[in-house]
């Protein structure tokens, strides 16, 4: 797990290089990199990097449905 500001900067560059918001692979790459970052490094990421990954998430969630949706509250008679 990365533990230095250097790692945060590297992660930020890697996320930026993975594509712009809306491209298929950028979301997966961005989330994978974020999953590996320590909380210390998370705090040192550039605001713009966090904003990009976040925007990507929110945009994807907007496709087809709103946030916080329940998938199945199904009621079955036994």
């Amino acid at each position: 797990m990365p533990t230095s500001g250097h790692e945060a900067n590297e992660a930020g560059r890697e996320i930026d290089a993975s594509g712009t918001a809306g491209e298929v692979h950028s979301a997966e790459t961005g989330l994978l990199i974020m999953s590996r970052l320590s909380l210390e490094d998370l705090g040192q990421l550039d605001d713009s990097v966090v904003a990009n990954v976040l925007r990507d998430l929110v945009e994807r969630r907007r496709c087809g449905a709103g946030p916080g949706e329940r998938y199945s509250l199904h009621d079955s008679t036994l």
Binding site: E28, L39, G43, R61, Y71, L73
Partner: protein
């Protein structure tokens, strides 16, 4: 994307990989929350977010796994999603509670992680209705009067404690046993055929009360029954349905018990901000438990996949007031495209389960399995036709649907007894006829 689909659960992504991506999502949300909070006027921001974040970070240095477990939990995802939206919209309350109190839930996550890491701490924690709910562990009942307030939690050489004014609760470490005013959550771990299911039965987390159905709030008198059904349901899955079991093992960490809507009825649910949690009322038997684990884990996995790429396009007709709504054979109301895909995927999963039970399961359950398999097969087929008409699937969504259709077509070579075939066909026809009479008469 290819590796996400290239696994043993046929069309499904690897749930293990989706869990990692969900952790990445939760960390992204947390990073966004910490940044947005600075821009908002929040009383006690340091108490609500700053101090807990630093405690989490310290615990991570000592025991990274303990912090990862907390950050990856479904209740953390639900809290982080609510908190981010509250801050984005700059609303003073979050879920009807002053936002600094709700944001301060981070302190409970931090205290839980620190307790697991064995790191001494002393932090302010939010209390709701006189209780402090430690995520995934249990509830300390201080029985204080205010609906919400700040209390204090600390871990020292004598153990973990929570205090508000004169009221104090000592939390056992480890916290698995019940003591005065401490209610631990039921933890069930069952290993069968080398496959492990590890779940918490959580009836008390304030951020897992989001299924639109009544939740069992008090100590559940049926805990032994829940444990028995989780264990025996898992034994069926792990023994006879290994790919489905592997999916469920990664996608289900928490079961939220709901109150059944009536005798001989059960409900289940999954919600997209809380990957890892599923909700259900008490199933009648082990087969029903196994089926529900399959059903809800499919919803969870497809929901998490949507964080990576869209499966359904925005409905252009929505702006002109003519959104697509299609027939879903498992529902009485018309459904949008994304909900149809969710239902198709879940019924496809259940179809796999019941097909195998029908072909190789216990003889005493053969008729039940035949009816269920026939129903799932018919509903998946019909739902897929309905969704294909929408024209709203993305390329990935279309590939998933086509793959399901191809496999379900092969299921047609598994004959059912003629009486059951007729029974299923009649149920299917009647449902659609009722639906059409209700929803299409005015068009």
């Amino acid at each position: 994307m290819s590796e996400l689909r290239d696994n043993g659960a046929e069309l499904g992504p690897t749930a293990e990989r989706l869990r990692v991506l969900e952790l990445g999502k939760h960390k992204t949300l947390l990073a966004g929350i910490m940044r947005l909070a600075i821009q908002r006027p929040i009383p006690d921001r340091e108490r609500a977010l700053g101090i807990p974040y630093r405690l989490l970070s310290s615990a991570e240095g000592l025991a990274p796994g303990a912090v990862t477990g907390v950050l990856a939990s479904p209740q953390f995802g639900a809290w982080a999603s609510d908190a981010l939206h509250c801050l984005l919209e700059d609303t003073p309350a979050m879920n009807g509670i002053p936002r600094e109190i709700s944001l301060g839930r981070l302190a409970m996550f931090a205290a839980t992680a620190a307790m697991r890491a064995g790191l001494p701490f002393d932090v302010a924690v939010p209390l709701r209705n006189g209780s402090a709910s430690f995520p995934g562990l249990g509830v300390a009942h201080l029985d204080t009067v205010p609906p919400w307030e700040w209390g204090r939690a600390w871990l020292d050489g004598t153990g973990c404690h929570v205090r508000s004014g004169p009221a104090r609760v000592d939390v056992p470490v480890p916290p698995g046993s019940a003591t005065a005013n401490w209610s631990p959550l039921l933890q069930v771990t069952v290993i069968e055929q080398g496959l492990c299911l590890e779940v918490v039965l959580d009836h008390n987390d304030p951020f897992l009360d989001r299924y639109g159905a009544a939740q069992r709030r008090t100590a559940d008198p049926d805990l032994a029954r829940w444990r028995h059904l989780i264990e025996t349901g898992w034994q069926i899955l792990a023994r006879d349905h290994q790919a489905l079991a592997a999916l469920a093992a990664d996608a289900v960490r928490t079961v939220v018990p709901l109150i059944a809507p009536g005798p001989n009825r059960m409900i289940g649910g999954t919600e997209e901000t809380s990957f890892g949690a599923i909700a259900m009322s008490l199933p009648p038997d082990a087969l029903a438990m196994a089926e529900t684990l399959v059903h809800e884990s499919h919803h969870a996995v497809l929901g998490a996949l949507r964080d990576i790429e869209p499966l359904v396009r925005d409905d252009d007709g929505r702006e002109q007031g003519r959104s697509f709504l299609g027939y879903a054979p498992w529902r009485d109301d018309p459904r949008p495209a994304h909900a149809l895909l969710q239902g198709i995927y879940a019924h496809y999963g259940m179809g796999q389960f019941w097909r195998r039970e029908y072909l190789t399961g216990a003889v005493k359950h053969r008729e039940r399995a035949a009816v269920a398999f026939g129903r799932m097969r018919a509903m998946t087929e019909r739902g897929a036709r309905s969704l294909a008409e929408s024209g709203l699937l993305t390329e990935t969504g279309r590939m998933i649907l086509v793959g399901i259709e191809e496999e379900v077509t092969q299921w047609r070579s598994d004959p059912l007894p003629a009486t059951i075939e007729r029974h299923v066909a009649e149920l299917t026809r009647q449902h659609e006829a009722r639906w059409r009479a209700r929803w299409l008469t005015s068009t």
